[in-house]
Symmetry: D2
Subunit: 409 residues, 4 copies
């Protein structure tokens, strides 16, 4: 009679074999799942009412990398870090890249910021003022240059551009200006670079948002070319929207570039991934794994090359634990989705067996993947409980010396 976890895993393996699941394939997939964490996720953030300052928040981009490195060491799943310019502006981007490598990381997506300067109050690349549009485009181009210096292959674009009042602005002209800005930036990309175009239902624009939904981002990307793809932020949709349907649709078009993962119940709540409706996250992974078996190579390749990124705003929770919790939740739902027997599901779907097909998907969700995650972590030499490992590591106490008020932005 061995350890509880060993017995649990043995039983799990037996169960999956019976279900026709290749457990080694599952483990390989699980080990291969990499999720990018955002540098800004280690800093303070909040709501419009208050940003609560936390002790130990990083004071510069290098300390953000330190924190991200800890998350990667504990999870083995987060080798890259997204940066935000100018929040992560440094004099020497080569130094930033070297520092990242020195702590076991690489720089991931570069995120331009064209929403926090006074000039951008009424729009950046869609501003009626041509000088402001020029300024915004120049910043986008600057970020492409930063990509080259830090070795990034993804330009991740979110525009806060929108309006608050009917009549405030000329919607069609703004649409055209946006496309012009994207086109000029696209031209500047190297051939190994992707442009990921994010959309958002609302906020900070409360009447209209220039890129309001996946359709607008998709159409913009389609006009640009194959290096432009859509970025799905799971919190950027109207109430009730079927996000996994959009994921499936974009996969079929070969245009799903990446995710910003987070959770929401109301608006763009930016909570810990998987904390509000874990089934939705599972169903997203179901669609991705389904597509990864498609007969169409474009669909398969798209499914295998998704940039998974976290984008959360930690208002009340400690930053590093919140990130570790998100990674664990993603691994949990991904692991469950890996237990779906797609042959069974497809056969039941083909027979129009509504309840059978539904059950074949849902029953995978109801399994406990803790034994699997434990086994995979042990095999990788990682802590089996990354959260506990972090809390016991003393790191939080260590960074307390940073004090309060480290700049997130």
């Amino acid at each position: 009679m061995g350890q509880w976890s060993d017995r649990a895993y043995a039983l799990f393996e037996e169960q999956q074999a019976e279900r026709g699941i290749d457990i080694e394939w599952v483990k390989g997939r699980l080990t291969g799942l990499k999720v990018e964490t955002p540098s800004w996720g280690y800093g303070d953030s909040g709501t419009r009412f208050k940003v609560f300052k936390k002790v130990g928040v990083p004071r510069n981009p290098f300390e953000k990398l330190d924190d991200a490195a800890v998350v990667h060491q504990l999870t083995g799943a987060c080798p890259t870090v997204a940066i935000h310019i100018p929040w992560d502006k440094v004099d020497d981007y080569g130094e930033l890249r070297s520092y990242a490598e020195s702590v076991g990381l690489r720089i991931g997506a570069v995120n331009p910021n064209v929403f926090q300067e006074d000039d951008y109050m009424l729009g950046s690349v869609t501003n009626a003022d041509p000088q402001i549009r020029r300024k915004a485009i120049n910043h986008l181009l600057e970020c492409v240059d930063v990509m080259k210096q830090v070795g990034s292959d993804a330009l991740s674009l979110w525009f806060a551009d929108g309006t608050n009042y009917p009549g405030q602005a000329h919607l069609r002209r703004r649409k055209q200006w946006l496309q012009e800005a994207l086109a000029e930036t696209y031209q500047a990309l190297s051939s190994n670079m992707k442009m990921l175009i994010e959309y958002k239902f609302f906020e900070p624009g409360f009447y209209h948002t220039d890129l309001a939904d996946w359709g607008m981002a998709f159409n913009a990307a389609a006009k640009l070319g194959p290096q432009a793809e859509v970025l799905v932020d799971t919190g950027h949709h109207a109430p009730g929207t079927n996000v996994e349907h959009i994921v499936s649709y974009l996969l079929d078009e070969g245009k799903l570039g990446g995710f910003h993962f987070n959770s929401r119940k109301y608006a763009d709540d930016d909570l810990i991934v998987g904390s509000t409706n874990p089934y939705e996250l599972f169903l997203i992974f179901y669609q991705i794994l389904e597509a990864s078996r498609d007969v169409n190579p474009l669909v398969r390749e798209t499914a295998e090359n998704i940039a998974y990124m976290i984008d959360q705003s930690h208002s009340i929770e400690p930053k590093i634990p919140a990130m570790i919790r998100s990674i664990a939740n993603i691994q949990t739902q991904y692991a469950k989705a890996l237990l779906i027997n797609h042959d069974d599901v497809r056969a039941l779907q083909a027979k129009n067996d509504v309840l059978g097909a539904e059950n074949a998907v849902r029953s995978a969700f109801e399994m406990d993947v803790t034994p699997l995650l434990t086994a995979v972590r042990e095999e990788q030499g990682l802590p089996v409980d990354p959260m506990r490992a972090f809390l016991e590591s003393g790191y939080q106490e260590h960074i307390a010396s940073r004090g309060i008020g480290g700049s997130s932005w």
Copy 2:
């Protein structure tokens, strides 16, 4: 000192001249606005809980045309009638066409119905069963044939296809089957025919809808070619969606084919047009009129060739009065939008004058266009109050002899 309405109109004209509005142009536009009514809008309909049967409901397609003719006689705005096959199935479509012409009407859009046969329970053109897909496509082709017989130039496509449960069906395959069906149907169109593709957020599918939003309809249409365009049903959106933004977007792409007008507060409530949020209807017309002045001829032409149609489900209200009310509400909001001084608005938008531009649009909405509508109706020899004219006409009493239970479907 003449009649009240004459004095009111004189004052109105003076006011508009001062605002730089060409009142003759406004009147021409208003006279030119034609709105198609649906044959099924004259029949009984309701909610899933109950269809309340009304006295006097038409018993066949010819009686529906009779009712539609009355609406056109009273409003001068509804010369065409949309039909639904098989609800309006007749042995001799040439006879239906002739009858329509004999009462002063033409047949407008033809609407296939691929959702009310048992075969279609789990989908029509997206059904996993190839025989059902074939049957559905054949019906679409049959409707193209009907179009030729009745002289229609618009095929209006709404698919109830969707699913109720995660995992129930293979989303990507359904997407492909849908496109195949559209493509085959598109090939059958004559060169003067348009295909209008409608989308819907949900219902009757409660998990996913195959054409769930404008983006999916737009992409389908774009792949087909220039005769395929998007149909916007104002009630088919997620809560909070900015419908006029979508309208503006589709206009800019040259892909806005038509509207199904109705009102909603919650889901697809299918209420009388303009009864819930009249400002939204005004803002839709603002975008259309804006586009009709675009420098791009494609955008202008698209804006000038929109098929305006009503699609309501009258659960509790008398049918013909409900239709007259909708027409009046549409005319009211269109008239208000015609009073916008676009040069002013554009100039204020170009200066980033948020409150000025907003005011220039909204203030047109606050004007009372009753004197204008009265004048235009008088000039056309129409009753100045179509609702009162109907109630006093005796027509409702006349059709009482039809009894209860006329078949809407």
Copy 3:
């Protein structure tokens, strides 16, 4: 090396003991969970677009009881059946009661129907016409009489009353008329009877619903007295509403009378329970189990006396399997909630440990309760897989002789 399920259960028991969970208590609770099925859930239903007729649908109330008896035999969890008057109207209610008992059932809640007669088109107890209000109240009183005959102790009230248009009706008078009707009905109740008052966000009223939310139902019940309580239909809320918060609130007030369980993503979709967002169902049970440990006896007693009922509309799925699936899903989420260690959760909450408390709740959700459910079913002599048992029972083939078109209503 015994059976897989035996070993799985042994491991499960060991795991729970380690977590401080009293497994015998859990099993007792699970065995004790009873869920009422609705007679109308065995009949055809659908959307406003189409009711798809199924083979084998019951032709009368007695056949509905036959089907319900099968569900109870297979699950052991459904000893009572809710009836709807007049859908289940019979000449001799004593006979209906006896028949129910003869197949191992009891009659549960009686549901008046004041929405399907033409008189009720513009309201029943809130109709501006006093004769219609009188008629509706008389029907409510008739249902109290039926309760006495069938041995029911719950009057379950849902009013479709509402309006479609602003200005259509006098909201405050309708509010008063509603309260008068409830008061007169309340007076007729025997002391052992409960009145359960349901609310609904919208539909069939698309402008306002007289009992639109829990607050209106609660206030009505509070004015009536202790026998009146609120009924929560999980699908009757605005998008995003935190249903478990409402549950918790009503428990604290001692006014939560029962549930109508179903699932929804958009409106009142009436899908199989637990199929859309299983975590929400789990969190509802968490709040109930929390309250069952309250220091306040009123709260505890309320939590222990909730009437759990299913209310689904099966548009596309076979009726009996859909019901079995719902029961299984409820048992699954209830079982998971029983695994929450409330002492741990409370201690972490008291320390303001956000991530700790969240984890203590969520981790119970991630456990696989299949071994537990299997064990409990075996101990009760029930089939371990009720769905398979049904499909293999031949019952569906047996009832095929009923043919198509059995009347649900």
Copy 4:
């Protein structure tokens, strides 16, 4: 032939007389409408992404009163100003009161702030930490004391209290703690003081809000006593909520204490009143005016004693013009509602004339009240166009000397 506006008004008066409207009563009502502006509405505010700093923003509570005084001088409608403690904390509240009076104002509602100190991150009066609850209650009591010093008769309570994650906190205990805090504060009120309890659907809590809807605020107020009433912030509801129904309901219960007016399309967008859906604002006033004619004196008195307040967050628009625009929009919709012929509406409602009653309400909305507003302003010696008057006044240039970065908070 006089001025255009004189002729327009003469025609308007004639029209209203014909409709049975007592124009002098209308003008009296319109003159009597007073709307409180918030001190914080003159300062900078924004979204979580950015607070854009404006030139000329007040640097202290006295300068906020200066700005509010200008709004009152131009509109004649804003004699009181709501203050927020500690944003408007001063050493000597008597001085603040005197200053207000010296510029023609009075201090209106006092708004405690228990959400911007670090202690309140996880709740104020509902915090699990008793010391923090004590601190929060003490602040509420301090604000009652401030009320006495500034001569305020309304304590306006909004709690940001809520949680972000399921399981994070004990919902029922928080409910009880909240009630305890309210009760202690209520005891401190003088007999002339009202406590106005605000509710909010979400934000900053993204899982649950302790006072999430009108029902919770209503129940809290009902337990406290007659001096406690509900405050309706028009932007604090779930998507699609019928706000005027809630208004009507609270009026009928004698518990509608006041409004925070603003506009929204998505979440709590806090835009200029009447800018998103003006018809909703009109319908709210319709319900209020309806109630002001009720047979029940409690309902009438409640309707006549509503505290109308503005609560906006001006992200992009100049502050004083935004306030003037809101006042004008409120006056416009109130004026339109005053043109409803309630006898007609009630008679049509009593006859169940759906379209007739709807038309009797809506047609008032379609009238142009500009001539009326102009006449009333002239009679009061106010500028007929307050916005233009402000822009031409030079005040904006005058306050430019305040520079950038005046503290709103």
